[in-house]
């Protein structure tokens, strides 16, 4: 009985996944597609739960559905506000339909080849490797790993190189984001209702991030999930129209961005000096070292995701507003800053004055 009902549930999940993916890709309205993509992420998270992979489910829900969705929605909004540069539009307007269709076909064929290759590789791996060999190896060595959650043991101990390189990929991505120039301007205040929600949601999100980081040692959770939750707190603050969204300023931001890779490499080099292999933790210290690396990685991942949402380097504007506030007028936090508090002659500051005046009018 329960087997059949679970089968029905799995079937429904698969059907909704395929339908959502198709409708998200086939639609012409970008905003609608993004919302369908977020729904797809949530259903995918449920599918991961059914596959007994709660760690992946958490990451999918937080990053795939939540933050990626917010990122895409912000991009859609930006695109609708300022249309594509004239160069791209002119290229598009007199392109040949034949070339376009050929291109579409080429992309489809390439995607199909890629999907086929992946399916073949997966089938090959499932058939050739002895079943349960890897899980057995992990559980046999779990005691020496310093943590009791096998996923964390694999990510941070047995295959720590992979995670180090993943963090290096994130660092590269954030350098690319920095190369895009200054971030988009922030949003106007969303009004008292959303402010009220943000006021208690942000502390809860920060607390949840800490919990996910800590619990990762023995239950589903870890640096990626915690970092995504922490980043969500900043995204909520930005959507609420705050200029200060928890990102450190200036050199401190760069330190946080590099913290994940930096801590990993420092620990690895320290172990080398102590005569151990690179990232070969001595078992009694493993738990503590993993927690250190994961804490640094959480901050780095959160900063990376927030910077991706900002879409560029944080504007120095926020610093000036904050400095002006501290230097000139001791206004309590949360209240609008008076434009007189800003003493810079930079164009950014003039823009800030203007925006602050606007928000005050709205208040």
């Amino acid at each position: 009985m329960s087997d059949t009902s679970l089968l029905v549930l799995d079937g429904l999940l698969v059907i909704s996944l395929v339908t959502l993916a198709w409708t998200a890709l086939a639609g012409s309205d970008a905003r609608r597609s993004v919302i369908l993509f977020m729904a797809f992420g949530l259903v995918l998270a449920a599918a991961w739960v059914r596959l007994l992979a709660p760690d992946v489910a958490l990451a999918e829900a937080a990053i795939g559905a939540g933050l990626a969705g917010a990122l895409l929605l912000a991009a859609v909004r930006e695109q609708s506000r300022q249309p594509l540069p004239a160069r791209i539009v002119s290229k598009r307007s007199h392109n040949k339909p034949g070339v376009n269709i050929a291109l579409q076909w080429a992309v489809s064929v390439l995607c199909a080849v890629l999907a086929g290759t992946l399916a073949w590789a997966l089938a090959h791996a499932l058939n050739s490797a002895p079943q349960n060999a890897l899980p057995r190896a992990v559980s046999a060595n779990l005691e020496a790993s310093g943590v009791s959650n096998p996923v964390t043991a694999v990510l941070l101990n047995f295959r720590a190189y992979d995670t180090l390189l993943e963090l290096a990929v994130l660092l590269t991505a954030v350098l690319g984001i920095f190369a895009l120039g200054p971030a988009r301007p922030g949003y106007q205040s969303a009004g008292p209702v959303f402010d009220g929600l943000a006021r208690w949601l942000v502390p809860v999100l920060i607390l949840t991030a800490g919990y996910l980081l800590w619990v990762g040692a023995h239950a589903p959770g870890g640096a990626f999930q915690a970092g995504a939750t922490l980043a969500a707190a900043s995204v909520v603050l930005r959507l609420a129209g705050r200029h200060q969204i928890g990102l450190p300023q200036g050199p401190a931001l760069r330190v946080v961005m590099a913290a994940g890779v930096g801590m990993f490499v420092l620990v690895g080099l320290g172990l080398l000096v102590a005569g151990r292999p690179f990232l070969g933790y001595p078992p009694p210290w493993a738990g503590g070292l993993i927690l250190m690396i994961e804490s640094a990685a959480t901050l780095a991942i959160a900063a990376t995701l927030v910077l991706a949402f900002l879409g560029g380097q944080p504007r120095p504007l926020a610093v000036r507003v904050a400095r002006g506030r501290i230097a000139a007028t001791p206004i309590p936090t949360g209240k609008p800053v008076s434009p007189e508090g800003i003493r810079s002659t930079e164009p950014h500051a003039a823009e800030a004055c203007h925006r602050i005046q606007e928000t005050q009018k709205r208040c």
Partner: protein
């Protein structure tokens, strides 16, 4: 006894979800759709949480379920307000 009560609560919750979804599909405009979604789904989730809480063995699980419900309540109330306000502003400007 507790099983029956729990099942009844979950079924009632599912009923509210169904009503909310039908309302979302059938009601004519955005405001009444929002009204159907937020009210019916929040109550439906509350009943589901109550039914599942009766079933759970630990107090911690009950508290987590309750936290989920409260978070969804706040989030859905705020987002319904934002959507409705946005729609209203667009109506008045155009």
């Amino acid at each position: 006894m507790i099983d029956v009560l729990s099942a009844l609560l979950v079924l009632a919750g599912v009923g509210f979800y169904l009503t909310g979804s039908i309302g979302l599909l059938r009601l004519p405009d955005l405001y009444s759709r929002l009204h159907a979604l937020t009210k019916a789904d929040n109550l439906g989730l509350g009943l589901l949480v109550a039914g599942l809480a009766l079933h759970s063995q630990e107090l911690l699980t009950v508290l987590k379920l309750l936290l989920i419900w409260l978070a969804v309540l706040a989030a859905s109330a705020a987002s319904a307000h934002l959507i409705a306000r946005h729609a209203r502003r667009q109506e008045t400007t155009s």
